[in-house]
Amino acid sequence: MKLTLHVWRQKNAASQGKMERYEVEANEHMSFLEMLDVLNEELIGKGQEPVAFDHDCREGICGSCGFVINGVAHGPMPGTTVCQLHMRHFKAGDELYLEPWRASAFPVVKDLVVDRGAFDRIIASGGYISASTGSAPDANAVPIPKKYADLSMDAAQCIGCGACVAACPNASASLFTSAKISHLGVLPQGEPERRERALRMVATATAEGFGNCTNIGECEAVCPKGIRLEFIARMNRDYIQASWLQRQESSAGGVG
């Protein structure tokens, strides 16, 4: 199958980029990234610079890959990352536009590669549990009802790919931040720092330059892991409670 690609080419963070047109011969058994590998081999053969894109596991679980295909983050199939998207979903003659995630908090490094360090900094600001870990605790030493374990696991599926930010008209990181807040907050181990965590991570997301949430739902629709808007409501709840109910620490407190 012959395809026409329009790919965002940008040499580095400082340079101006533009869309470039390429023709590529693919077959339906390839994954989308394998199709790009074919294009890149051709480009290298011609002595041109290959198209840079992020990828690692190519199994849809690492969160490395992702770009926008014809205006949809991770392409037209729901619940998949770009690496798990296959060429059988396209037909000969298709014209595809490939663009990097667009957000000021995700500066383009090169072509389709963006710097998602802002996500790491959001996690570093509160996406952890302060407890001495020691050796692994016994399984089920802390009993957790199944529905809470399930809810936590649903949120913990987030692989931090950034598609939510890319799809959001406000370039908001709310879905990502809420997933990272919720997978800890619904468990007893994460409860003590639940509200402080929400305060810090939401503040960091804004400081990094992500926009606000307008409850539009595009993030949920493109999320390869099915993270739900429900978690954003939960984050808002945590944040509102934290803002209004948080107690101040006092040196006189807790002496008995």
Partner: protein, 229 residues
């Protein structure tokens, strides 16, 4: 004493931080939204008395004017709500611009509704409409045959102009769109989202929008059709 001051400073600082935050601003938008939706529902219920004959509206207006604390209390609360609603929208829109300076060549929305994507358009259009509506039926500067206190007559003469009626009908369609997203969205913003209730809230939003659009639009159409004289 010192503890009290520290606590106060801490609390005041917290309020400022809350209103500085994106979630805090959205909460302001949601709460003022509830007030404004409540008002437009009450406003329509009052105005539907236009179908009870030529005197009902005049009597209703007289009754409202005889209760200045209620009238002015409502007006002040509404003015503050509209102001805060706009403040929140304007500051957040600025943030949105900064968050995505470079847009996409191709962008295809997957699930979002047209209403949800156009809130930053329907809002300002409604604000302009409110100004016109007040000048038209409340103070009369935009109404060539305005007579103070003759509410029913002002309404009929105003809507007999097809252009005026058309602008009201368009504005009400905008209101319907704005609330189709807004009425559900305000619950999500304050943290109410549950598999059991969210589908119901979305239906509630659609019902509220439909009621307001149909109820309000019926009035200029009835005037143009000669049902209300």
């Amino acid at each position: 004493m010192s503890t009290a001051t520290t606590a106060l400073a801490g609390k005041a600082a917290r309020d400022v931080r809350f209103l500085d935050s994106t979630i805090g601003k959205k909460v302001v938008m949601a709460i003022t939204g509830v007030i404004l939706v409540g008002f437009v529902i009450g406003h329509l219920l009052g105005n539907l008395q236009v179908y009870q004959g030529p005197h009902a509206l005049d009597v209703y207006a007289e009754k409202l004017k005889s209760l200045p604390p209620l009238l002015w209390g409502t007006r002040i609360v509404l003015l503050i709500s509209v102001g805060l609603h706009i403040w929140s929208a304007v500051t957040l829109a600025g943030l949105q611009k900064r968050a995505r300076p470079v847009g996409y060549v191709k962008l295809k929305p997957v699930t979002s509704t047209y209403a949800s994507r156009t809130m930053y358009w329907s809002g300002p259009i409604l604000a302009l409409f409110i100004v016109y509506h007040l000048l038209h039926f409340t103070t009369g500067q935009a109404h060539p045959q305005f007579v103070e206190g003759k509410v029913h007559q002002n309404l009929v003469l105003g809507f007999q102009n097809p252009l005026v009626s058309a602008s009201y009908i368009l504005a009400m369609l905008m209101l319907g769109m704005h609330l189709y997203h807004g009425v559900w969205s305000m619950f999500q913003t304050v943290g109410v989202n549950h598999p059991k209730y969210t589908p119901m809230l979305k239906k509630l939003a659609a019902a509220v929008s439909a009621f307001l659009v149909i109820g309000n639009i019926s009035i200029p159409i009835s005037v143009l059709a000669g049902v209300i004289k």
